[in-house]
């Protein structure tokens, strides 16, 4: 019958009361130096520890009460023996008359402590006797606490080297022997505990055993604190004996905990020098033991040690720590066939962390670890355990963080192989990590080979990896991913045009497979990257003409042409049109008339055939007009063809106001305000007049349909165009023409019923401008003088 909640509290309270009660009389006896009564009440007090009703936590509380009282007994014993009332040997005999074994042994240990202190017998003999006598308690909880008491009171009385209880030449061994024996007995009690009691309470028992674990582990802590345990003794005696106990107890909980303890309580140097022995124990542990956690802790500890000082690194090399750990991990993974994949990867992550810290120069080690991972994965389906994939991301990120250079990772043959085993989602996560690393370190990837390798790594972002079109992909995430690819493309650069061209071709090869969703993100950065190369070549101005070179603007424009074409399948005609215009402008700057003409032709074809939306048409035509206006490469004939088309399309836009604005914009195609720019005043005027006619028509249409206000603002806009050309000296635009237009607008505004405040303001400020120019004097003032407002 094991206790629950309130019952347990009650039993604890009763136990405490029993201890207090007897302690009261014990104190009285102590105060009157009454040894007999002191012993009697202390025995009764200690009898409270015979309870089986308490959980380890509560028992510990009770134990601590008794423990504190025993300190008073200990002091009393010391005083009594010092005064010579009784010899310590007699006392040692006397306490053994206590009727109950548990109180007897607590008292015996207490007197034993005084006995050792008195040095009337060698410490080793007293300790040996005590550790043997404690065998009398075979109840696990009571036995563990009693032996933990022995461990505590002997803690500062071991015949350690340099201790005041140091004995013969073999002194340290006696100390070690004592602790190991106590440890062994405690471990047995602890392991045996699981078999006592009904099976249905097994979980509860395991929980209680877990609470008791530090009582056992404390012995190892004591061992580690023994001064005389040097590396040799640790290697020859301590470690083998402790491991023997750990392996032979065949208990999962004990093995896991004790291996952890060994790793934590003994110093790093010892572990390094005994790696083989320590690691050799792992495959002998029960198959259910969570070895990976323990091994990881060992590697983490050693990694920290390696990081602590550069001076310790030779130690690692000398003992070939990496290959030993790597071997051990291999064996453990082989032996534990049921170990989940996440366990294996966790081990590899720790090993990788270890090698990155200890052997940062050994890329082959890094690749070896990755290779071991690949081997583990081979023949399996893609990983879908989220904990496992998380560990792989950690595994693959570690070298990036360490070297801050993707170039290093690209040199590892097994790196992409590990990535191949990731599910698509994780593959993408990893690809993003890689890109972020590149962006963070502004790493420039400068050869086509590296680019090839890199795109192989991040292919999860570049193209669809399986047929199942992922419908659950978040639109925002997708955009974010593709934007990061776009950013990446700008990080691929080489100053050598030949290599840069190769890079561009490589990127093109990959992104062209991206499908309609990705191309709009990836084509523009590639186009601009290629145009940058074009500008670069153009800057070199034919230095290399005649050489066998492929990196010529012409060739690049050809590639660009094909690349932009890919957008048509998306379809994304507006984007393609913009890019064609960009190319045309670049070709213009390279003085390549046929090429520029071809791009314009493509742009017009797109406009005619693909751009259907009227708003998109407006935007496109203005882009065309703007670009065309800046072109100076064209001969008369080509130019006429293109401007003719542009004005034609302008006049055919769906809405009158759009037509009007596009047409007056076309006027700039005939008047380029540059040294050698075309200045065809007549055709400018034709455009403006045509715009006026359209504005008129728009006005009339508005009157018919709504019977009210028309777009007066168009007239004002046209007036401003007139003013521009008037000032630029177009002979066709005279002051009287302007005067007429002003009057027209005034009339329109008066007849127009409702007023449009923005039109009013626009007109007013236009008039103010004219007024200002008139008053300015000089040539411009004279020019404006005839106009009356």
């Amino acid at each position: 019958m094991l206790p629950h909640g309130d019952d347990e509290e009650k039993w604890l309270a009763e136990g405490i009361a029993g201890i207090q009660h007897n302690a009261f009389y014990m104190h009285r006896a102590l105060d009157s130096n009454d040894l007999k009564d002191a012993l009697r009440y202390s025995v009764q007090m200690l009898s409270e520890l015979r309870t089986s009703l308490l959980s380890p936590h509560k028992y510990y509380e009770l134990y601590m009460r008794a423990f504190d009282e025993l300190r008073k007994m200990e002091m009393f014993f010391r005083e009594e023996t010092a005064r010579g009332t009784i010899s310590v040997i007699e006392l040692y005999e006397l306490v053994q008359h206590a009727g109950n074994i548990l109180p007897r042994l607590y008292l015996l240990c207490t007197v034993g402590s005084v006995y050792i202190k008195s040095k009337e017998a060698p410490a080793k003999d007293v300790l040996k006797d005590l550790v043997e006598m404690c065998r009398g308690i075979q109840h696990p909880v009571r036995g563990l606490f009693l032996r933990s008491y022995l461990c505590q009171i002997s803690r500062d009385k071991l015949p350690d080297i340099g201790s005041e209880y140091e004995g013969d030449a073999d002194t340290v061994n006696h100390a070690i022997e004592f602790v190991i024996q106590n440890f062994t007995e405690m471990n047995k009690l602890w392991v045996r505990m699981q078999h006592q009691g009904p099976t249905r309470e097994k979980d509860k028992r395991e929980k209680e055993r877990s609470q008791l674990r530090d009582l056992v582990g404390k012995n190892l802590h004591v061992l580690s604190q023994i001064e005389g345990v040097d590396l040799d003794i640790y290697k020859e005696t301590v470690l083998p004996r402790v491991l023997e106990q750990v392996v032979n107890c065949k208990d999962e909980l004990a093995q896991h905990y004790l291996m952890d303890c060994i790793i934590q309580v003994f110093p790093d140097e010892y572990h390094l020098q005994t790696l083989e022995t320590l690691l050799g124990a792992f495959p002998q542990l029960q198959p259910t033991v969570d070895i990976k956690t323990v091994l990881s802790q060992l590697m983490d500890r050693l990694s920290n040690y390696a990081a602590s000082s550069i001076e310790v690194l030779p130690e690692f090399l000398q003992v070939e720590a990496f290959s030993k750990l790597s071997n051990a991990i291999g064996k453990v993974i082989e032996a534990q066939v049921d170990m989940p994949v996440v366990g294996a990867i966790t081990l590899y992550v720790s090993l990788l962390t270890f090698t990155l810290r200890v052997h940062p120069d050994r890329l082959d080690y890094v690749d070896q670890v990755l290779g071991a991972c690949v081997k583990k994965f081979s023949g399996r389906a893609k990983l879908e355990d989220s904990r496992a994939t998380k560990q792989i991301v950690a595994l693959l990120s570690a070298p990036l963080e360490k070297y801050n250079d993707i170039g290093t990772a690209l040199k590892l043959p097994n790196y992409p192989r590990v990535m191949d085993h990731l599910d698509n989602g994780t593959n993408k996560v990893m690809a993003v990590v890689i890109i972020q690393s590149i962006m963070k370190n502004t790493t420039c990837i400068s050869t086509a080979d590296k680019v090839e390798a890199l795109f192989e790594l991040i292919k999860g972002l570049i193209r669809d990896m399986d047929e199942t079109q992922d419908d659950e992909i978040d639109e925002e995430d997708f955009k974010e991913e593709q934007n990061s690819v776009a950013r990446l493309i700008h990080m691929l650069h080489n100053d050598d045009p030949e290599e840069m061209l190769k890079i561009i071709c490589t990127v093109r090869k990959h992104i062209i497979l991206g499908g309609p969703k990705r191309l709009p993100f990836t084509v523009p950065p590639l186009v601009f990257s290629a145009l940058k190369l074009v500008r670069h070549l153009q800057g070199q101005d034919g230095d290399v003409i005649g050489e066998e070179i492929s990196a010529t603007p012409k060739k690049i424009f050809q590639i660009l042409h094909q690349t932009i074409e890919a957008l048509l399948s998306v379809p994304s005609p507006e984007l393609a049109l913009r890019l064609y215009l960009q190319c045309a402008e670049a070709a213009n700057d390279c003085d390549l008339e046929p090429v520029a003409y071809e791009f314009f032709t493509q742009a017009f074809i797109l406009y005619e055939e693909e751009v259907a939306d009227s708003k998109a048409q407006v935007t496109a035509i203005h882009l065309i007009i703007g670009t065309l206006q800046r072109m100076n490469v064209f001969g008369v004939e080509n130019r006429d063809t293109l401007t003719h088309k542009a004005t034609g399309y302008s006049a055919k836009l769906l809405k009158k106001p759009d037509q009007c604005r596009a047409v007056y914009a076309c006027s700039h195609l005939f008047w380029v305000d540059e040294q050698d720019g075309i200045k065809d005043g007549e055709r400018v005027l034709l455009c403006l007049k045509r715009a006026l006619r359209i504005a008129n028509a728009a006005q009339q249409m508005a009157n018919v349909t709504r019977g009210s206000s028309g777009p007066v603002i168009l007239f004002i806009e046209i007036l401003n165009k007139y003013l521009y050309f008037f000032e630029k000296g177009n002979p066709q635009v005279t002051s009287s023409v302007l005067q007429g237009l002003i009057e027209l607008i005034k009339t329109e505004m008066q007849t127009d019923g409702s007023s449009d405040p923005s039109a009013d303001a626009f007109f007013a400020s236009t008039l103010r401008y004219i007024q200002f120019q008139k008053q300015k004097g000089g040539a411009m003032g004279e020019k404006y003088d005839p106009i009356k407002i």
């Binding site: 009763e14 029993g18 803690r155 877990s210 009582l215």
Partner: protein, 208 residues
């Protein structure tokens, strides 16, 4: 003769893993130091005789595991402590930040009757490392924290060099001695000569 009990002063050392709790105790009690890190499991104590005002006391110094997983049985040993020593590593910010947690955890678990005035001492250890160049917690900052918690005495120590260790523990002993003992005062209501009687009550009366 209530003095027998007062000859023992119980001190608990708390702090993060690796700040040097065991090393401080070993330096003070055994005058020994090892650079190697060895985790402590559970809790155990060493004793040392100290002299205060011509009287001899036994200082019972409890060293504890900084790693939580090695404290499986809980902290029943906090009971009856006369002083609590909080240790941090001046080179590790986190260990300083955690002092507050350790202090509160101690007050919660040990539940002294007068928590406001329970004696604490703070030790900033490892001041020797790298000639002090790697320290991240300034003396000023540590002192400010100590002042804010009711003027906790503060020492900067090096367990390795033995710097200030003796002085710190002398102060610890003095403060432990000042702490009023709060042992449950127990008086039996019936004199039960045979012992084992369970019909007991706690008395709330005074000691005399």
């Amino acid at each position: 003769m209530a003095s027998r009990r007062r000859m023992l002063l119980k001190v608990i050392i708390l702090g993060d893993s690796g700040v040097g709790k065991t090393s401080l105790m070993n330096q003070y009690v055994n005058k020994k130091f090892s650079n190697q890190y060895k985790a402590t499991i559970g809790a155990d104590f060493l004793t040392k005789e100290v002299q205060i005002d011509d009287r001899l006391f036994t200082l019972q110094i409890w060293d504890t595991a900084g790693q939580e997983r090695f404290q499986s049985l809980g902290v029943a040993f906090y009971r009856g402590a006369d002083c609590c020593v909080l240790v941090y590593d001046v080179n590790v910010m986190k260990s300083f930040d955690n002092l507050n947690n350790w202090r509160e955890e101690f007050l919660l678990q040990a539940s002294p009757s007068d928590p406001e005035n329970f004696p604490f001492i703070v030790l900033g250890n490892k001041i020797d490392i790298d000639g002090g160049n790697s320290r991240v917690v300034s003396e000023k900052k540590a002192k400010a924290w100590c002042a804010s918690k009711g003027n906790i005495p503060y020492f900067e120590t090096s367990a390795k060099e033995g710097l200030n260790v003796e002085a710190a523990f002398q102060c610890i002993a003095m403060n432990a001695l000042k702490n009023e003992p709060e042992e449950d005062i127990y008086l039996p209501d019936t004199i039960d000569v045979a012992g084992g009687g369970r019909q007991l009550q706690r008395s709330s009366g005074c000691e005399c």
